[in-house]
């Protein structure tokens, strides 16, 4: 048992279905429910609260110093598992043994109070994450330096920009020194350079021999940090072991999911008054095609259906393309290129016309998002597969180098070379139009 940090044994968590909407949040509901229960009592009606297992018989071990990734779709139980291991919620059955001090980072800036200054919030947040005051005092300067908000440390955080806020919050979290660190997708915030800094810090943490559990949708992060990973599917462990194999399994699962009819998809988020019903990939003449071709014009058509008799103002329809490792490559959004108001009603479609598709050959995925007046209406991750056939993008007879299939985007560029020791520079030019 000596080198084990976490041992989960048959962890299960049971929820009543629709816990959020059907909960008796007011006394009246509760009384009404009781009353209905009474009347049904004699008749022996059906079970009124269908239930489901958010987690079912999860068993695994994490060794000390190991970095374990947890991947899976929305609703697969990842967050529930983290919440149980962080003791925020209790399992319905099963046990988990944890050896060592745990810090969990399910959110950046937990407990930040807007009226308090940066300095005060560092102490507050650190205390909430379980850091001793003495420890904070010792690391205070380091934390402030890491965050880069020195000049505003005595300003209330309500006057901070969102970027400063996040940097300060992460700086506190990054200086925790628990034996076990539990992280939930917190890296999804902040600008790219700060994300890089955070990733660096995470690597440092894992190298220092601490145990890390990390949940992410970003396979690049998971593959970069973890030796081992768990794939959760519908609350069960679908795969556990070597990270690359698990990530492959996840990609397979995505392909399976993306193959189903969009109409039948239930893993949607948002209000649902506007629904995406179909996505067609078409060539430049708007004929549907099975696959797009690198470098050719392509049209992506998103069909929608609005709730009957309603009109939705200020809509935004967008679609993003994810690569092999589920990384975001680029996004097409109606509001960015042409910020005229978009009103949706009834049924219809939006076409995105992409000249010279800048993607290498391979299997990609779409992620769709529709909103109206700033409210998310319909958001589906991995909504459909997107196949691209490789072609000669640069017109040089060369295809992309191996390893770049469905991984990264193509950009137009040229290169020049020069000799610095020669006074009479005669540049060698290569131009790609």
């Amino acid at each position: 048992m000596g080198d084990i940090a976490i041992k989960a044994d048959c962890l299960s968590k049971h929820y009543r279905l629709g816990a959020a909407s059907r909960q008796h949040n007011t006394l009246r509901d509760h009384l009404m429910h009781r009353l209905r229960g009474l009347t049904r009592w004699g008749g022996g009606g059906p079970e009124s609260n269908p239930s489901f297992w958010a987690l079912k018989d999860i068993s695994f071990e994490v060794k000390r110093g190991e970095v374990l990734g947890i991947v899976g779709h929305n609703g697969a139980g990842k967050s529930t598992l983290l919440k149980i291991l962080s003791r925020i919620t209790q399992p319905t059955t099963g046990t988990a043994d944890i050896y060592g001090r745990v810090s969990s980072l399910l959110e950046v800036g937990t407990g930040f109070h807007s009226e308090l200054s940066g300095r005060e919030n560092i102490y507050l947040n650190a205390a909430m994450l379980g850091m001793r005051r003495e420890e904070v005092r010792r690391k205070f300067d380091e934390i402030v330096a890491f965050s880069g908000v020195e000049a505003f440390i005595d300003t209330p955080v309500k006057r901070y920009s969102s970027g400063m806020y996040v940097r300060l919050a992460f700086a506190v979290a990054a200086h925790l020194e628990p034996e076990i660190l539990i992280v939930d997708e917190v890296l999804a915030v902040g600008d790219a350079s700060f994300q890089q800094k955070c990733l660096g810090k995470m690597e440092e943490v894992s190298r220092s021999g601490r145990t890390v559990l990390i949940v992410s949708h970003n396979m690049t992060v998971i593959e970069g940090l973890c030796e081992r990973a768990i794939l959760l599917e519908k609350g069960r462990v679908a795969k556990i072991g070597n990270t690359h194999e698990v990530v492959e399994g996840y990609a397979d699962a995505i392909r399976g999911l993306a193959g189903t009819e969009i109409e039948a998809r239930h893993d949607r988020e948002g209000l649902g008054e506007i629904l995406l019903t179909r996505i067609d990939v078409m060539d430049q003449d708007k004929h549907p095609v099975a696959a797009a071709i690198t470098g050719r014009d392509v049209v992506i058509r998103m069909y929608y259906r609005c709730a009957a008799g309603k009109e939705f103002l200020n809509c935004r329809v967008s679609i993003s393309v994810n690569g092999r490792k589920a990384q975001d490559l680029f996004v097409l959004s109606t509001d960015i290129v042409d910020p005229k108001p978009l009103t949706l009603r009834g049924e219809g479609y939006v076409d995105f016309i992409l000249p010279e598709l800048p993607l290498t050959g391979g299997a990609y995925f779409f992620q769709s998002y529709i909103e109206s007046n700033g409210h998310a209406q319909d958001w589906i991750r991995n909504v459909a597969p997107f196949s691209v056939l490789d072609a000669d993008y640069y017109g040089t007879g060369k295809l992309c180098p191996p390893g770049w299939e469905a991984n990264g985007v193509l950009v137009r560029y040229r290169w020049e070379a020069g000799e610095t020791d020669s006074t009479d520079v005669l540049p060698v030019r290569a131009r790609v139009s």
Binding site: G2, Q23, S86, T93, R101, S104, T110, L116, A127
Partner: protein, 292 residues
Amino acid sequence: MRGDEITMSALTADQRPLSTLPHVRIQPARGLLDLDLAALWQYRELIHILVWRDVTVRYKQTLLGVAWAMFQPVATMLIFTVVFSVMGKIPSDGFPYPVFLYAGLLPWFYVSQALSRGGTSLVGEAPLISKVYFPRLILPLSATIAPLVDLALAFVAFLGLMAWFGIFPTWRMLSLPLFAALAATITLAAGLWISALYVKYRDVGHILPMFIQLWMFVSPILYPVSKVPESWRALYAMNPVVSVVEGFRWALIPGFQVDFTMFFPSLAVVCVVFVGGLIYFRSMERTFADVI
């Protein structure tokens, strides 16, 4: 051989701190009352910092700052004196009404404030509860402690009032912390119930202010206990705030008479409500994060 030795020693060095690593077993809770006082103690710094936060935030960006803690009860005292004493002719057992009233308002301001803050402490911190672990008892507990600071400040104002009326404190004043502790226990006991119920039933948000106002009228704050009909006294004494208010007056006003037998029913009620509150809170605590 050498290599083996090195790995062996590295292993033992690596494993040495293991015995000292804290071990936590996560499992479905069972048992009625598992207080886990050890966890509370471990998180004492969090209690401290939450109390500090509540006190600080309350008077941030105000001109008068902490002076509000004195101004509020003094202003209330002045208004109530005009309404109830000057116009309403409510007796005060022969003591100057402002002194009599203020000695009652002092603990009442604390109770009402701690109750409304304690009662909403869980729902008000919903994001915390769903994102980070700590013994949930800390929230109502620190919400009960924080207004003690306001109580102390309001007490300073009372000293001024005593000087104005030329009343000299007696040794009885030393017993004040005892009655303040009683007030805190009562509020915590009620706060445990209210905060846990609030998580499940949002009706509590509407009921609470009404409940606090009602409680004030069934406590001897504006009027003396002697005005309560003899036959109602036994029932009246069940209200623990009666003991607190009487205790405060006894400690602060020289010559104030208190029937200490009235304390026993109060204390019994406090004990029952407190223990019941702890059991209820602990049993609900398991689902806070799922329901909130």
